[in-house]
């Protein structure tokens, strides 16, 4: 987008992200982008809804699944290995795959999600939890980290009208 078609009256250094997915792998894009944008001087708001909401919980127990995910191939024994769905469906396989992914993350110097979330909080990234999702899945604000706000669709839309970059992840 060129500078001539910026939204009038909207600060170009503003970004919002709707966070809809809460698995270990999908937790990365929103937290990487929000922390980096904040480091580059942007005001960032994250709106956590549906399966993204548990990413605000005090205790994170994130898992990844290879079920229905043919693109998930892990480096193993010099090659990249995927997993047939019938294997992915076996109890315990998700836990093993998650452990493997966490080991890989550590080995490659990639930040953990709790670490990135702490950095986002430290960088004053505004975090809004979706009230409807809290109700729907019977979560309480007490389960969530300190400093978050609660809001709904209108709260997010107001943020979006004031943000130059709006992402849905």
């Amino acid at each position: 987008m060129s500078s001539t078609d910026m939204k009038p009256g909207v600060d170009p250094n503003t970004m919002s992200i709707i966070v809809t997915k809460g698995s270990l792998d999908w937790a990365y894009p929103p937290f990487i982008l929000s922390t980096t944008a904040a480091a580059m001087g942007l005001d960032v708001t994250m709106f956590f809804t549906f399966y993204g909401l548990p990413l605000l919980m005090k205790d994170l127990s994130l898992q990844v699944t290879s079920l229905g995910n043919p693109a998930m191939k892990m480096p193993m024994m010099g090659m990249h290995m995927g997993m047939p769905n019938i294997v992915s469906a076996i109890p315990g396989v998700d836990a093993a795959a998650s452990k493997m992914m966490k080991n890989l993350i550590k080995k490659k110097g990639v930040a953990s999600i709790p670490e990135l979330r702490d950095l986002a909080v430290e960088a004053d990234v505004r975090m809004i939890a979706c009230q409807m999702t809290l109700d729907l899945f019977e979560y309480s604000k007490d389960d969530m980290i300190e400093g978050i706000e609660i809001g709904g669709a209108a709260t997010y839309i107001e943020v979006a009208t004031q943000s130059h970059i709006n992402l849905f992840i």
């Binding site: 580059m40 990639v110 930040a111």
Partner: protein, 75 residues
């Protein structure tokens, strides 16, 4: 000689940028920060970071898979 050195070797995206930002935050304008990184993606990222934030990328070098960046804080 830089005023401050940040060793970000072994760290992957976006940690070198986040740690650099944190270090710059505590520094006065005009002071310089040297960053060491082993992340090949840091070449494009520090250039973009500096263009967007107005900090000056004074110089960069690579030796044996370690990139060194010298950034002067704006203001």
């Amino acid at each position: 000689m830089a005023d401050q050195v940040l060793d970000a070797k072994g760290l992957n995206c976006p940690l070198p940028i986040l740690k650099a930002k944190k270090a710059l935050k505590s520094m006065e304008g005009g002071k310089t920060l040297e960053i060491l990184s082993t992340d090949p993606g840091s070449v494009a990222d520090f250039a973009a970071f500096c263009r967007t934030t107005g900090n000056e990328l004074v110089e960069q070098n690579e030796e044996g898979g370690v990139w060194t960046y010298l950034i002067r804080k704006s203001g």
